[in-house]
Symmetry: C2
Subunit: 605 residues, 2 copies
Amino acid sequence: MSQVPEKPVRDLTGESIGLVETQTVRFDRPLELSCGHTLPFVDVAYETYGELDAGRTNAVLICHALSGDAHAAGFHAEQKPDNPRHKPGWWDVYVGPGKAIDTRHFFVICSNVLGGCKGTTGPGSINPDTGKPWGLDFPVVTIADMVAVQLRLIDHLGIEKLLCVLGGSMGGMQALEWAVRHPERMAGLLPVATTASLGAQPLAFDAVGRNAIISDPQFHNGHYAQHDTNPARGLAIARMLGHITYLSEQSMHRKFGRNLRHAEKPGWSFDSEFAVETYLDYQGEKFVDRFDANSYLYITRAMDYFDLGEGRGGLEKALKGTSARVLVISFSSDWLFPPSQNHRIAKALLHAGRPAGYLNIDEAYGHDSFLLPSPTHQQAIRGFLENLLRQERGLAEEPVDLDPRQPDEKRRMDLQRIAELIEPGASVLDLGCGDGRFLQYLRQRGAGRVVGVDIDPFRVVEAIENGIDAIRADLDQPLEIFPDRSFDYVLLSRTLQTVRHPSVVMREMLRIGHRGVVSFPNFGYWRNRHQISWTGRAPVSRNLPYTWCDTPNLHFLSLKDFEDWARDEGLKIERRIPLDFTSASEIRFLPNLRATDAIYVIGRG
Amino acid sequence: MSQVPEKPVRDLTGESIGLVETQTVRFDRPLELSCGHTLPFVDVAYETYGELDAGRTNAVLICHALSGDAHAAGFHAEQKPDNPRHKPGWWDVYVGPGKAIDTRHFFVICSNVLGGCKGTTGPGSINPDTGKPWGLDFPVVTIADMVAVQLRLIDHLGIEKLLCVLGGSMGGMQALEWAVRHPERMAGLLPVATTASLGAQPLAFDAVGRNAIISDPQFHNGHYAQHDTNPARGLAIARMLGHITYLSEQSMHRKFGRNLRHAEKPGWSFDSEFAVETYLDYQGEKFVDRFDANSYLYITRAMDYFDLGEGRGGLEKALKGTSARVLVISFSSDWLFPPSQNHRIAKALLHAGRPAGYLNIDEAYGHDSFLLPSPTHQQAIRGFLENLLRQERGLAEEPVDLDPRQPDEKRRMDLQRIAELIEPGASVLDLGCGDGRFLQYLRQRGAGRVVGVDIDPFRVVEAIENGIDAIRADLDQPLEIFPDRSFDYVLLSRTLQTVRHPSVVMREMLRIGHRGVVSFPNFGYWRNRHQISWTGRAPVSRNLPYTWCDTPNLHFLSLKDFEDWARDEGLKIERRIPLDFTSASEIRFLPNLRATDAIYVIGRG
């Protein structure tokens, strides 16, 4: 992912949703938990924003992370929007009129998780058998149990099918569990900065945090409420540690560096002197005021136990039954649930034959990036949701016109010819898809499933906005995300000569597709030969318009070079279409000399 | 750093040093500390291995990290080498006969740090004023104070000048402080996996660890010894957390994954179930048995306060007075003191006009890599130390013969001609230096300072073995490590056409050097033109021996292309040497047509 972004994307600030209220509903039916225990009833705290449409097609469920709650957006009455110390809900920058999750179009639901401490039943709730808080007598809950409670809420709200379930971090785990358990109840899935299971390092961080809580002498084996105290030191330490894992090293260093709090010189003590120490102290103290230590134990344990593929024959099999359209999003600087973990989810979906897009966003703020106003993130979420809604409502998209009659240097007559090669119903993967408009065009011409790959995150976002399942990936790396023979056609138009390892890309192409379609500028074109021979310079011509030192073209090949190579590789050239871009015609006679470009359809030999 | 290593390096296992003993010496002279307090006397525990030579030229001081001690190698009498539960010193894989730090050649010293708990004065020592352990009454110590104590030991051992001071992690900090404070007392400096100051993230981890210790009810404000207890839970938590930062995410996951300790199914509890939890518990418990909580506080605080450039006008100025030859080593997967932190040290040295090499080693084991048997690491340390010893003893190196009469395809007559261009005393930087033999050759011909750059770590190690200050770097990234105009000549032999961004590399070349010397294969050579014109294929010839798809050459240029470009860039071509490799002659007539290769000497216009 070495390419520099070409242009910034637009911001989606929108407006605040204003005053909101948390509601609570009690479900009296007993709830069986994964661990085998049964809760006699469950209380659920939730908020909703926007209006459910008549067809009930526009409901979006947001799932919150470890320390979140039902209050995702807007202000509570006791908060004042004009008081800078009063803060809106935890995802307010994403939810509201005109924002990424636009409450003018969507009915948004967010509920506090089972095991939490913000209104939904948890270890701090009263145990009906004893009349005292549950404490550690509360049964261990799982992500699946959280989803079971959310399902009751969705039923209660009269929603048959959610448009989308989305969430970051632990919210993403819930969204994934939804997709596996209740595929018929959702059209879209948007897991962000998450994982299908915790690896050893996050398990270890969780263990250390819980150790700090349990070791606190005020913990009283979880019954601290009965002792009228709480393990504040331990919980603060757990939160401090967690907080480090939510930020990136760079963002932390940029914010605090080695600054001292209020001195030029060291204090020669173990007090908090460095700004970062004071900040962590503050984060720890603030958290203790608003969060319950037992809930911290239960919720981190639920994350530890979460393993989407476990008991389901692995991740790929687990995801086979899903039917939602999926966009997986990760952040480059997230080291808690890093891009590789999110990539793994998208890969499992594609290998399970499910449609999925994957976008890794370059942001510097670590895991917390998903909570911050990242324009790329906002644009991707909006593009995905709006396309889902259009699709669910059966609305047609605007017709795409490729317009081959552009100015000379932009004329891409190869695309027009390639489109004519794709038969109706055929599935197409476009490597180097740009904004996805060509795939849109193919889809409108009757192609089956279409998927795009691009290295540039802004092109991937545009493709998502154009309703394409797009994957951010570097063609110079193996495209393991795609299974063997998963597409009828894999396209590589005017890209072969720009990759570092053309053989690798071509092999991947024919591993993934039944056929490959390649177009490239012809190095053997007579003007090029002429220039080399008579001027003794590397050619700069209409089909190779760059000087030797600034060219994105890393390889030069003629039709003959390509054909020699295809023969050596044992590939079958099914069709050759030499083109002259200057005269917009097909070349039959002396193509290696006269064609500016060529298209080849190749198959395995 | 995208290139794949070409060959593995050889292992340096050697033999165990056998039985060793820790000695203790008391220095009765009061020691003034950085914080202003004075210790009336200092005890120092140390070990030595090997023999000091008559000239006292072969003494190597090893500085240990946070939890290390004086026992770097061999076995104590109470340990038994044949008992697998008995372990040798902490760096035994590096120190011994035939090992990287070969005790047949070097006299090796290692002492426990001030503030430690393994024999050197620290917070657990008896405060002579009270007759009780110091506890938190012990004054805060710094890395500089640790070095002051080591200096006394070196004086005591009668060593005027150390051959080298080396160490990993906090050991590297001590080594750096040595180089700034006592440049006259050392010939070499080898900081490994370290930093010139902690950034916000490691400061934060330290703070959380100390918080756990101080919050432990058994801490008793540091006077736990007087209460006959110790803050074992807190220290264990600090150690667990530290341990996570010493490993890499990959290595941790490879080792433990999500394995459960002794069950197939979850236990639905908060007990340690996952293997990684049990492992951390074990690490925590083991540490409590062998380490003192107060020492943990003092030593981590010393690391926090360490800032080599502070009070010295910044890092570069601080290093200006050093005279040691330096090799800085980092590990790719180290996220505690990552490559960038180590690179920063090497950069400051080079910008201060000091000689320095920099090697980033690809190892998967995180920060702990420096303790593990990494063959690349072993080979680099050995190569560096042996060259230092040779240099200190004034021994000549074996003459290098470039041997231009190699088989055709390997004949590099450009090198011979380039060597003739370099006047005696001129400093030379070779970009793409390989094993450094060409620089060795130039040095033997009378060149002044010579430095090499290569992307391949194994080539960099070979260059170090050949006594060259070599830097691992990717030419496609800016070479910020080198200051402006710091070399007379910067060489780029047969490399320009392989880089992604030739303009960037050339600009860097002329920023760093007064002159650039470039050699490249001539694309305008008549055989190439002939092939393109008459066969319509990308040329495969003696000077461009690769096919279009497997070539490392990403750009093709002729003499004319290069000259056009130099003119556009405003560069001055001071000399042009067209060559014919096939006839081993210089070409004067029609060079763009007849030369297979060319050398250019260029300067800023």
